[in-house]
Amino acid sequence: MTAAVYSSRPLPLFDKYGGIKTLRHVIMEFYDRVLDSDVIGHFFEDTDMVRLIDHQVKFFTMVLGGPSDFSDERLARAHAFLRLNHDQFDEAVTLLIITLEEANFAPEDRDSVITAIEARRGIIVT
């Protein structure tokens, strides 16, 4: 007569892909691509990198199921001044897909990240 608790919850992508180590690589690569982009690069020309990184770490950690709570309100506030349109959002998504591919994310994991970001399109695009 014993009692035990077992967890069958799948590992979050954040842990599956090596936590902050992989996230660091993804964020760095993604922003290099974003800065080089003719469609959206200009948005980040004079951005405070420390603040931007802080947002990105929290946002991507949340999207990957890591230890972060990044509210939709905060996401909306962070992007409101950019006044992004759908083409610019699409460009960011495309660059992220390339970045995740290069970071060896499995197609289904890549899709789940993009799905999570697409779900917030209405918040980011104004």
Binding site: A4, V5, M49
Partner: protein, 377 residues
Amino acid sequence: MFPENISARLLKSIGVGVCLVEADNGIIVFCNASFMNWFDAAERDMLLLDAVPDLAAEDIARAIDGAAIEVKTKIKRRTLIIELSAYPADFDGRKLIVFECQNVSRLRETEAMIDSYATMVDRRTRDLEREKTQVEKLLLNIMPRTVYEEYMTFGSVAPRLFEPVSVLMLDFVGFTQMAAAADPTVTVAELNDIFTAFDRIGELYGCERIKTVGDCYIAVTGLPHPNPDHAVSTAKCASKMIRYLQRRNSTHQHEWRARIGIASGSVVGSVVGVQKYIYDVFGPAVNLAARLQALSEPMEITVSDTVSSELIDDFAMTRRRTESIRGFGEREVCCLEKHPDTKQITRPQVRGNFGLTKRDALPVANRGTSGVTTFSV
């Protein structure tokens, strides 16, 4: 000269930015490709301060003193952070300053990332600690600390025999009717207050609540730590519970009357269940305490013969008799003499007894045809 030429070529090709400046006037005499890539205005014979607008004259003095100076420069859309170190040098009698520059942008970004992540993790750790405390409090409500610790260490709890212990079983007279007659939320809130008070009384006597089932309160003394005075402690605890109810009844609208049974013996304690688990005790003492509780008059404490023999020095006994108890046969039982205070306390006026008289109400457990309450635990 060959060695100087190869040095110059090396300086041009390395990733570190190098700039040689006249010490007395700050004019650039040489800068390599990396330096010019970061500071595109830089060229020979121009002032270093003009080539690096973010650099101040006092920064140069600080750099010569050994400080690492950081300046920002923009290449296309990216703002780079360049760290400058300065070293005085002497070349054929000319006083020069060698500036060594490193691109530390990635390093600073990584530091910012780690800071951000660390803040996030700290916050999450605090949240988890808070949740852990809540979970611990909840689990400690349903199992003793030693059992909880075993559960947390091994993920399971092995059944354990405790002997001897005393089991206290308390049940209220007519609770079901009370709940039906009055606002059930009020009744349950009062029950909660009373059980909380019982828990505190139990703490004083080492009589640990095992569980409550509806209005039935089950506690054990001598578990998980042995207590040679388990019978006396349990009787004192039960006596205090009755006195608490007496005092409470004298000042509250609703009257709560309990029956208590106490039995001694061995019990097995274990966590039962996997998803919805509860710590419970099993054994003849538990069943006997339930039967004795049913034999009690309201506000009376009935004890078994084994318990009464332990109480001889501390309690006066009354109503000593032999009862036929289902599952136990003929057993000698008796009741604790009521405390003098208990006898004196009378209700100033009856403000509400939910319309029940003394023996109207059945306890929640089923009363068998023999007149002995059957109680399954």
